[in-house]
Subunit: 406 residues, 2 copies
């Protein structure tokens, strides 16, 4: 029996304990030794929990118990999660985590600590919740030159976009509902301003390049400026607005990473990813397009990904499972030099000016929207677009278009 | 350097050689030792190929070269593929294959031979072409009770369905085009009658249950009876016709496996899988719904999956990577006891009879289709439906509906 400890008895941590309990027979059918949760670390007591007897308050108990082979870090936040993870790895205990903040900030350091102590640091649950995406990237696609990753990486914002699109509701109204349903936090900034998606695309970009893509270096725009009017135009164009984490390598080796809302054409498989679902779309030079789809959050789906890591660590006790991710910082290409088309809305009075600036602009009409001029530009660099758009004094919004060919 | 041999220099085999050549730098960045194709076994000569000097005609050369650690079996068919694979495994050489026919027929025996000789038998490319699906099932979902697998597992039939749907063409006309484009074989039976999809769902069902699901035991229906009229009704219902391989486990342990065309509602992620793309939709009791999407066939995508297996074997030289698949035959549940709704078309003259047989039938109308009565039945067992439908003398077609809830 492999003994493990769970750090943090919150949503994900309690999900891990529940899953290992309920699916013990399934687990044993494939891993006969079985997995047992010996300790649950939390500052709180849980007198009514069936697992009350496993609660401990001191990390030392876990660190000093030689039986504990694997630790699940489901606390979130940087500290004490970082110190606890590091201390466990230094004791040769593998760590499996759902903590994207920690992985994005200290991934390479913790992987190195694991390598130095013949154990592993795994973080499948840090991106895409229950969707197996990191494991396929690391084990099924090592023969591929991955040239593009496009991800719907945040369920909260995708839920908001989908309801705005389907029901014509405003951002503020849907956000309120999402908060009531528990899909959005009381302080929703990390989700709606794109920071969460940004950390996740930073992790995926790092795994693909093998270097460190710092999330602080990634241009990041959220969805709070998307309006019901934008949604009407999107529908008229047969497109959906999706918050995407995007990472692209050009043939000359330039790497562009960005988090922003994009208009996604209906031919693209990401167009139909709705509600709280997430998806990661990958282009490899040999395999062409792939997509991994599933629940990007939630107690049991996320716990499932953490447990998948636990089982891989259990199959590799005493061995380090390598992850190529060095702490060398990858210099990203200038985001302003990236080219694409833009959807733009201005007052009707500025139509002539807009057409003189964007000569090949294609007008977009949507029912019930009068008094404004909406159009899609020709492909151009972000810098060029910004320069031209600065001349427009009534710019209502502009949204990037996802190019099907890249 | 890991030395490998490729058996069969056809589409997939030549793809493997090309991929390993072109992506050698990518491969070495993650597997520094590198992979080298030392031999290519084929009965033909390829004097103009850059790889002409590696062609051999005698399997003995490969079997007796102790340098060869891994063999890619990309010959297809049962013999000599089976004898060659077995002989290689008995020499401790791992075998990676794209040969679904062989895997469906002899998977457990070859896995056992591999286990006995400390090497591995891998077959990621046998299902879903380039899509990583077997590896996620075996390594990322071992903690899940998989209750349902729905797969669009054959690109030829999906291409035909998509063009019939989008362009109103007949089955026969699209098949002809598919044959001209090389998407369909001159003898298209294995694809259009569902046998290929049937072998693939047999493999997936076996991996999920750990026992052998014999493809001969699976009820199998192809797409050759789907008409342009059916497609019009499908569109009127906002559904798409898709050939699905389906494998379901009920709570009481019954296992239903089937290959047949289904009407897929537009809310279902499989609805939008078009053209030659494939997708595998999986439901686990903890992770909920997942989908893996990509190219289900083609030279380089399939070669990519074979090479992923080669790399995993290369990381595990001297070790058997286990696959839980015993040769115990799984007793499938009686397919006639499965329940669902059906879409049915009869002559208008039989409307009253149809309504007396199927009391809760919901009529479906499609423009331009007069003189017939089309409807969707209430949920009922296959046996019940068959008994009632036998009373209809003008039955034009009946297509099963995919239930979103199962």
């Amino acid at each position: 029996m492999i003994q493990i400890a769970v750090l943090g008895f919150g949503t994900v941590g309690s999900g891990v304990v529940e899953l290992i309990d309920k699916n013990q027979d399934v687990i044993r059918s494939r891993f006969p030794e079985g997995i047992h949760v010996k300790y649950i670390l939390d500052i709180r007591e849980f007198p009514d929990s069936p697992y009350a007897d496993r609660i401990v308050h001191d990390m030392k108990v876990i660190l000093e118990d030689p039986e504990i082979a694997i630790v699940c870090e489901t606390m979130g936040g940087k500290e004490p999660a970082y110190s606890f993870s590091r201390a466990a790895l230094e004791k040769g205990k593998s760590v499996c985590t759902s903590n994207k903040e920690l992985v994005a900030a200290y991934g390479p350091a913790l992987i190195q600590t694991a390598a130095d102590h013949n154990c592993s640091y795994m973080f499948e649950a840090s991106v895409g919740g229950g969707i197996p995406v990191i494991r396929p990237l690391l084990s099924a696609l090592t023969q591929e030159k991955i040239t593009s990753i496009l991800g719907i990486l945040n369920g909260t914002t995708n839920y908001i976009m989908t309801r705005m699109e389907n029901e014509g509701m405003s951002f503020e109204d849907v956000l309120k509902i999402a908060q009531e349903k528990g899909y959005a936090e009381r302080n929703p900034e990390a989700d709606v301003e794109g920071h969460d998606a940004c950390r996740k695309i930073a992790i995926l970009s790092s795994l693909v390049t093998g270097k460190t893509v710092r999330y602080e270096d990634i241009p990041c725009e959220g969805i709070s400026k998307i309006t019901t009017e934008d949604m009407k135009y999107a529908r008229a164009m047969h497109m959906a607005v999706r918050l995407l984490g995007m990472s692209r390598q050009t043939e000359n080796g330039a790497v562009y990473v960005r988090t922003a809302p994009f208009l996604v054409p209906e031919e693209h498989p990401l167009h139909n990813v709705s509600g709280v679902f997430n998806a990661v779309f990958v282009h490899g030079n040999m395999v062409d397009n792939l997509m991994f789809y599933g629940r990007g959050a939630g107690k049991l789906p996320t716990a499932s990904a953490v447990t998948a890591d636990v089982l891989e660590c259990a199959r590799n006790i005493g061995r380090h499972v390598p992850v190529k991710w060095s702490d060398e910082v990858l210099q990203l290409s200038d985001p302003k030099s990236e080219s694409r088309q833009f959807f733009v809305r201005v007052d009707a009075a500025e139509k002539d000016l807009a057409l003189s600036l964007f000569k090949a602009a294609q007008e977009v009409r949507a029912e019930g929207l009068e008094g404004e001029f909406a159009f899609v530009t020709e492909e151009q660099t972000e810098a060029e677009f910004e320069r031209k758009a600065a001349s427009l004094s009534t710019l209502k919004n502009r949204i990037r278009l996802l190019d099907l060919e890249k």
